[in-house]
Amino acid sequence: MIFRFLSSIKLTVVCLLWLTVLVIWGTIYQVDHGIYKAQDFFFNPLFLFKFTPLPGGMLVLGLLFLNLLTSFFVHYQAGWRMPGLMLTHIGLIMLLLGGFFTRISGIEARVRLLEGQGTNMAFSLTEWEIYQVTELTQYREVEAAYVHEIGKRDRIAFEDSGIQLTVRELQKNATGLPAQDQRVPGLVSPSGFAALQPLKKDKEPFKNIPGVRLQVDGAKEVQELLLWGGDALPAKVEQEDGTMVYIGLRRRRYEIPFMRLLEFEHTYYPGSRVPKDFRSRVELELGEDRQRSVDIYMNHPLRLNGWTFFQHSFNAEQETEMSEFAATRNFGRLIPYWATGITSLGLAMHFLQVQWMQLQRMKKKEASA
């Protein structure tokens, strides 16, 4: 019964039409609320706006996936007679799988470098982490807990110290309120804040700066930490054994191959501000005494160790030019490529076959008439 329902062509039509509605609605919604909110409310969740009973994009695409899969068993026993249709549906199954795989495993981050500067870290635009280091040196061990995975009253314990943190307040977008007259006893804030003031979430998620108030156990004097995403430095906390640890809130970091920006160049079309080309020359450290220089520019990304680096933007208004790269890692990257080829081939084969059969039928009819 369920099998028949899942494989029915009526379900296909309903899903396609509902997806059409979602696409139109979600596109119009973007005008006032931005693309990220539209993704969050229409295309990524199971239900619209995450709570209504109306199916969201993820649920519809999931149903379509099951519909495609089950219809194989019900409708295509004689599939070899319609190879185009088979290929089309195989391609679409791959496409949906690829999309799902990318969604759960893909990483999108940024690398921002001034000329001469190097790094082995990319940062997330949307995810944040509470981190702890035991020393403030250039190369150090870092422990982190991801903000999107924690909730109020959750406990965070770092292995390298005896400090335990309990979340007392978590704001997705906030600013800090400075202490009015004097320090709040037992509260440490790197920016000198006494409390967090929640702000309305911005439609561009990377503009949201979170804040967190943490109860601290296992430290001398410090009872509470107030960390804010805009803090320039981490909070300094003395443990009960007298050793120091540093705890802060920052954009989530990903380790990438070490790269140094040697030079950034940008050109405009003559007499205009229309960008013609912008490119970065970076030096890569590939191991002991193994270095290589490469150019990253528009439409010519660098692929290295599973990461892809794209020339994203720049700031040439300061004395030292800054270049920004989009860094992505997606092991299922090529699945949609294959899916596109297979589906398109299948569609072409199918429609040619159908048209050919129709024409032959008409010719036969004419001949018999």
Partner: protein, 659 residues
């Protein structure tokens, strides 16, 4: 009158002479003879740097300027180039030309200018275009209005404010073009009296009227005269006069610097900066080649005014050669001659005329069933197609890019694909319908392309991310081919519904249905391929395959809708009529994806949408929905049980099948 005072009075008079029509000027004294085509051709090819970053022939440049000011590509019988040459060479002759497009009449009310204008003795209340002289009394008010509007963020300005800014900028632009060669003229009424200043300026009794450029070139000598002056009280008469002349030069210079005709490259293979003739002569005196080229432009001006056309051609050729030599790293500089020829050839306009002929012949064939008309329709269609292909070929050659880089290009490309598909249909079924549909769509889309031209340069430079990528090229070509397939299938959907209403026989309807389904399948295949190739391009360019961008969604919409219609048909949820209705609605989804998403002004693909296009888009959707509703009702009535068995009231006599 004291010599210093007379010069000072001239300062305002001289600078103002080129600004207003009521000042007595020396600039318009020469007789004009109409330029021959060869002279026009030679100046048409002059390379000029456009603000969009492209070196283009003066011919294209003039079209863009006139389009910006007037919304038209010619002024009456005059081509844009002829109009521009008149503005440059005889700045005071076109002041009564009705060229300034005013899209919002409230601006005129705010300027205290009548909203009707007399042209050749007749008031033209409905005109939207006005002359410089008509608007001139309100320029002060307009400047205030525009100044206030500029203080408001652009996206918060109202229609009147936007129009005030636009009109003021256009009038200023026009005014600046008029002054391009004003510096070459004699300073009206100037008289240098003191012998020292006359000597410094190398003036003799035989010297004719004093030209501004002469004063400009002798400024160092004037400065030398006043070097030892300590305070204004102790100035000699000569020093006072020298100061006044120097001040005149300085004031006029600030007026003439960086005028908007960037004709001469400042440095060879260097900064890609172009200078107007005045700047070329005065900015970098040590670059003798540049100064000589500046002088050439000056001589061109004089030769034009003297009607010495042979010399005009020589000088224009010299300037073109100079620019090409300096800018040999910019491909388009060498192609200005080709582009000017391309403009003159007007391939698409002529193709449209041929398509129109083909349309009427094919219509006649479909209505009458005449095979002769059908065969005759092939001839203009073939000519139209030839011109269409050649025109697109020229565009590809000139831009060194695939034919689809902006909306204008998509109209031309989609119409070409539609014509080719229609020809394929005609070859297969030979009933005139293919010719009819192909020519109809070509005329419509070329008409739309012509409307789009008003938005600016149709061969403009594209930003870095769109500049060069195999996947981008294949994406746009595939997706627009998909648009063409779904669109033309929709047109056959219209035909099916009309034929059904007219009571055409079953075989005819079956044939149209077969064509429609085949084209819809073609459209679905390419729309899907194009949409996914867009994802591949996005993944190659910035690392994400799909982002639910409005244009991606638009393309996806076509795929989803067409797939839904197909599945509904296969599943028996709809029949032939539903399929035809679905194909017609497919036309709407194409228009939404193609034009509609640009209305949203979000995302990466929101290029060029004008108010005219908006009106056309909304109007189209309304007409299409009305068509579907009316056809639905009429077909329902026709098929309803109340009419079954009786004679069809909608068609008194079923027409003779033409197919």
């Amino acid at each position: 009158m004291k010599p210093a005072l007379s010069v000072l009075i001239l300062i305002l008079g001289f600078v103002g002479c080129s600004r207003g029509p009521d000042s007595e000027t020396a600039i318009d004294s020469s007789p004009e003879t109409p330029p021959p085509a060869s002279a026009l051709k030679s100046v048409a090819e002059l390379p000029v740097l456009h603000g969009g970053g492209r070196v283009m022939p003066l011919d294209t440049f003039s079209r863009l300027v006139l389009l910006q000011i007037s919304g038209r590509r010619s002024y009456g019988e005059e081509s844009a180039l002829e109009w521009m040459m008149q503005v440059l060479m005889y700045p005071d002759r076109g002041l009564d030309d009705v060229i300034f497009l005013v899209e919002h009449p409230d601006v005129l009310s705010d300027m205290n200018v009548p909203i009707t204008q007399e042209v050749e003795g007749k008031a033209k209340p409905s005109t939207r275009r006005f002359s410089y002289n008509h608007l001139r009394p309100g320029l002060g008010e307009l400047q205030l209005l525009a100044g206030r509007a500029r203080n408001i963020p652009e996206d918060q300005r109202g229609l009147v404010e936007k129009e005030a800014v636009r009109l003021f900028e256009n009038i200023m632009l026009y005014d600046q073009f008029r002054q391009t060669f004003a510096f070459t003229q004699s300073v009206p009424g100037i008289e240098i009296k003191t012998p020292e200043v006359r000597e410094a300026l190398e003036l003799t009794d035989e010297s004719g009227p004093i030209r501004f450029l002469h004063l400009r070139e002798h400024t160092p000598q004037l400065i030398h005269l006043v070097e030892d002056a300590t305070d204004s009280e102790s100035l000699t008469e000569a020093q006072t006069e020298a100061f006044a002349v120097a001040r005149l030069v300085r004031q006029a210079e600030s007026h003439w610097a960086e005028l908007p005709l960037p004709l001469l490259p400042e440095a060879p293979h260097g900064t890609d900066h172009f200078l107007a003739p005045y700047d070329a002569l005065t900015k970098t005196m040590q670059d003798q080649d540049l100064v000589n080229a500046g002088r050439r432009s000056l001589e061109l001006f004089e030769a034009w005014r003297a009607g010495n056309w042979q010399e005009v051609e020589t000088l224009a050729g010299d300037i073109t050669a100079f620019t090409r030599a300096r800018m040999d790293h910019l491909r388009e500089t060498a192609l200005t001659g080709f582009e000017a020829r391309f403009n003159r050839a007007n391939y698409f306009g002529r193709a449209k005329v041929f398509y129109l002929f083909a349309f009427f012949l094919a219509l006649g064939s479909v209505v009458s069933g005449s095979d002769l008309w059908r065969k005759m329709a092939w001839v203009p269609l073939a000519f139209g197609l030839l011109l269409h292909v050649v025109g697109l070929g020229w565009r590809i050659y000139l831009t060194a890019r695939p034919p689809v880089t902006n909306l204008y290009g998509t109209f031309l490309f989609v119409s070409l694909v539609c014509v080719l598909l229609a020809i394929l249909v005609e070859v297969l079924v030979k009933n005139g319908l293919g010719l009819f549909v192909g020519s109809l769509i070509a005329v419509m889309f070329i008409f739309l392309a012509e409307r789009y031209i008003a938005t600016g340069d149709t061969m403009g430079k594209v930003v870095a991310v769109l500049a060069s990528n195999f996947w981008l090229s294949t994406h746009v070509l595939a997706v627009t081919t998909g648009y063409a397939g779904v669109w033309i299938a929709g047109v056959f959907g219209h035909i099916w519904l009309i034929f059904k209403l007219l009571g055409k026989d079953k075989d005819t309807l079956k044939l149209v249905q077969l064509i429609m389904e085949g084209l819809l399948g073609f459209g679905l295949t390419f729309a899907f391929l194009g949409t996914m190739l867009g994802g591949v391009w996005a993944d190659q360019s910035w690392g994400r395959f799909w982002g639910w961008d409005p244009k991606e969604n638009g393309a996806l919409l076509i795929v989803l809708w067409t797939a839904a219609v197909y599945h509904a048909r296969v599943g028996g949820l709809i029949k032939e009529k539903g399929m035809a209705m679905g194909a017609v609605a497919g036309c709407i989804t194409v228009m939404v994806a193609w034009l509609g998403v640009n209305l949203l002004s979000v995302g990466l693909h929101s290029y060029g949408f004008t108010d005219t296009m908006l009106n056309l888009f909304v109007g189209y959707i309304a007409v299409e929905l009305a068509f579907m509703a009316v056809m639905g009702v009429l077909l329902y009535l026709k098929e309803s049980v109340f009419l079954s068995g009786s004679k069809d009231p909608l068609v008194s006599e079923p027409p003779k099948p033409a197919l």
